[in-house]
């Protein structure tokens, strides 16, 4: 009886060690794990932004995909204005090859 209990305890210990590994292997890849933003220290727009990330990746994606071209165009236009003050022709160039 003692041997049986010893075997059962051994099996239980082995299962406890092996099962998390089996469960992890059956789960998604590490790259697919969800990362959660820590909002405890954040306030204002940062907190809103981090909460948006935590609550919905779809809305977060929409905000990012809309923001990037808009910010790009604004910064591009501003940089254009700076460049136009140099006094060079920014509308044409010489043909260089074929």
């Amino acid at each position: 009886m003692y041997k049986l209990w010893t075997k059962l305890a051994g099996l239980a210990a082995a299962a406890a060690l092996v099962l998390p590994g089996v469960a992890l292997a059956a789960g998604e890849k590490a790259s697919l794990l969800v990362i959660v933003a820590d909002t405890r220290k954040l306030t204002g727009w940062e907190a809103w932004f981090a909460n948006l990330y935590n609550e919905s990746h779809i809305y977060f994606t929409i905000v990012t995909v809309v923001a990037i071209p808009i910010i790009g165009v604004i910064l591009g236009v501003l940089a254009d204005l700076v460049m136009s003050h140099i006094g060079i022709d920014l509308k044409s160039r010489e043909l260089s090859e074929h």
Partner: protein, 351 residues
């Protein structure tokens, strides 16, 4: 000095923001000049600044989309973008990229895919570098022969002219590309973009590094048009990539926007520099960038064969890439300033 650091709300790390701006300027200059996204340059830079790897690629792609848009706007005004060619090529690029990405997932199940991909990348970079320098050597040889005969050297002449053979294929529909200045079968850009997209998908890169020389040597674009059209493609595919990575929660928009502030200026400098550095000047600098990229990939492969070299090779490859970015950016900036000075002086002289 706390004001020099900014908290990234998603990843929770504090980053030295002037570093992000400087990185943005450097990559903006090189991207605007060569017509590529430059993910291979940004990732080690972000790593050094302490950016978590989980967010590095997504942030890089988001910034790349914005930066390429800024460069495309400027190149478009110079007439360097063939939008028709760009749109046709997007079809092939997207299809090729998706098939390449699916293939790599299939290969991953077999195992050892990482090594195969890295060696493939090295071989491809060697081929691109060979193509660029062979073209330059051939052009110089042609010029030398003409000078020996006492004939005038055509400033618009090129070295390798494989595109002329491809243009002879008259498979309908035939399309005229006004900005690029040639007519060819629509299947040529579709096939080439499919092949470059497939390679980019397999290698896990943006593809500008492959597409730019492909546009020149296989499709027959003048260098400036290749740069502008490639950037147009990078802007669109970068936005798609940014959406994909952001949906997976791997983009730090704040960092991307800070980098964009530097990239906006850098992209202008890089793009305007193409006005002063002639087509073959761009090709030579591009060849050097490809060689540098190739050496850095080889450095990352060495620890797989020589034990105990991991740390040294990591530091060496990062130093090489950042050194290359700094040197090329400086060269482009100096050439742009010199060209602008000459143009302004010439204008004053005429007035």
């Amino acid at each position: 000095m706390d004001w020099l650091y900014v908290l990234m709300p998603i990843s929770g790390v504090t980053i030295f923001w002037p570093g992000l701006v400087i990185l943005g300027i450097g990559v903006g200059i090189i991207g605007g000049f060569f017509g590529m996204g430059g993910a291979w340059m940004v990732t080690p830079g972000l790593n050094i600044l302490g950016f978590p790897m989980a967010f590095a690629i997504g942030t890089d792609i988001a910034h790349m989309a914005g930066k390429s848009l800024i460069s495309t706007m400027r190149h478009g005004r110079f007439g360097n973008v063939d939008y028709r060619l760009g749109v046709i090529m997007i079809i092939g690029t997207v299809a090729g990229f998706e098939i390449g990405a699916q293939m790599i997932m299939w290969l991953e199940r077999i195992g050892k895919v990482d090594m195969i991909v890295r060696w493939m990348y090295v071989i491809l970079l060697i081929l691109i570098a060979w193509m660029v320098f062979a073209d330059i050597a051939k052009k110089r040889k042609k010029e030398k022969e003409l000078r020996a005969k006492g004939e005038d050297v055509d400033k618009l002449a090129t070295g390798i002219e494989w595109h002329k053979t491809f243009h002879k294929l008259k498979i309908p529909p035939m399309v005229h590309f006004k900005a690029a200045g040639f007519t060819c079968s629509a299947w040529l850009p579709i096939f080439i973009s499919f092949a470059t997209g497939w390679l980019a998908g397999i290698l896990g890169i943006g593809g500008g590094l492959i597409r730019m020389p492909a546009l020149i040597y296989f499709i027959g674009c003048p260098t400036h048009i290749a740069v502008g059209t490639d950037l147009f493609e990078v802007a669109i595919s970068g936005l798609y990539g940014a959406a994909t990575y952001t949906y997976k929660g791997r983009t730090e928009l704040v960092a991307a926007v800070i980098m964009l502030c530097g990239a906006a200026m850098g992209a202008q400098v890089g793009t305007v520099a193409t006005k002063y550095i002639k087509g073959y000047g761009i090709r030579i600098a591009f060849g050097i960038a490809v060689v540098g990229c190739c050496i850095s990939v080889i450095m990352k492969l060495i620890p797989k064969y020589v034990a105990g070299t991991q740390v040294v090779m990591d530091i060496a490859s990062t130093t090489l890439i950042l050194g290359l970015v700094a040197a090329l950016s400086l060269y482009i900036l100096v050439k742009m300033v010199q060209g602008a000075k000459q143009e302004v002086a010439a204008k004053k002289g005429r007035a």
